[in-house]
Symmetry: C2
Subunit: 209 residues, 2 copies
């Protein structure tokens, strides 16, 4: 299993923790492993039994940390959506010219995506099969609408081209940004700062010299 | 099932076709329905039994049209990859300035994507679980390398900005283009021609006025 397992004391002498989940795991580390497994096999195809096996603990030990698989999904989606929604509340997103606010929000989105890569990956792969998934997708759409409103405002200000519909601009921008989860390797030669610069340069100024 | 079923004579008097698949289906229409089901439920999760049920014919009737589920996948991927690879062989892709060839190939890619939407969707969702899937992904990577070479040539010609690595440009361009399968509705108000214009305008000239 290539899931990113946290370092876990597997010594059988660590008996004190046996009743309350194995030492080395807390809710956050269980969540992190669960999200990797969800991303690899799909949320629906992953049972609590598979999670327990991957974690090397019993199902009841998982239930010590979280009441259900659904709660793991809820926590994971909150990491992604909460991070993205926070960007919209920051000064750079709420004051200044519309085009500068748009750039600020896009840079913030890329930062959240890179910092919370597995969580955002899970969010982007949701198909809306349950009420919770549909609620998450509705929050994602609300986020997108905020971007579309910023694009529209910047077009009215005369700073952005007006021949592309604001909704199309948003879809193309998020097509570019969301695809980053499919190929970006944090810690590699391309820093998240340069990645954000590249996305903003291509989107705002274009590839042509 | 919201799969795009072809019009099928369901009259029980249509007995002549019973032995050789039901009238109204040929290999191409079986393939089309199969690809919709693969895209909805995942290739691996789809059995020949599920396909037969969706088509309203027996499994043996499917086997009259195709020898295996794997062959359906192979045919579907050929529709997508064959279409994309053909673009690279056309005059506009092989002669002229590198930036013009790049634009030509990107427009051709968008056209194939829109015309063969379910097939390209299937290709883009592959995870490389079988030898055939890995072979398809290798052909996709070869296609991407051709684009990277064109970007690199255009940078050397001085027509494209040089501060973004050619490989990153390709990833961002295909992030934008591939995401079209997630939201584009053929036959809607946004024509495929205008969509291609919008993608090319944003990527080459940028959003800023």
């Amino acid at each position: 299993m290539p899931a990113n397992l946290p370092t876990v004391t597997s010594s059988p002498s660590a008996a004190t923790g046996a009743k309350r989940g194995r030492p080395g795991y807390d809710q956050q580390s269980v969540l992190r492993v669960a999200v990797d497994v969800f991303n690899k096999h799909g949320y629906e195809a992953t049972s609590m039994g598979i999670l327990a096996e991957t974690l090397g603990i019993s199902k009841s030990a998982i239930y010590h940390h979280v009441p259900s698989k659904e709660e793991l999904l809820r926590l994971a989606l909150e990491e992604a959506l909460g991070g993205l929604e926070t960007v919209l509340t920051l000064d750079g997103a709420t004051s200044g010219a519309a085009d500068a606010r748009l750039e600020y929000v896009l840079r913030g989105t890329i930062a959240v995506l890179v910092e919370r890569l597995p969580f955002v990956t899970l969010l982007l792969r949701l198909r809306g099969n349950t009420a919770m998934e549909r609620e998450a997708l509705a929050r994602r759409r609300a986020f997108d609408r905020t971007i579309t409103a910023l694009v529209s405002a910047a077009q009215q200000d005369g700073t952005l081209r007006t021949d592309i519909a604001p909704g199309t601009v948003t879809r193309l921008l998020f097509g570019t940004i969301n695809s980053i989860v499919e190929w970006y390797k944090p810690g590699g030669p391309l820093t998240s700062q340069k990645l954000a610069d590249d996305v903003i340069s291509m989107a705002f100024a274009g590839l042509r010299k």
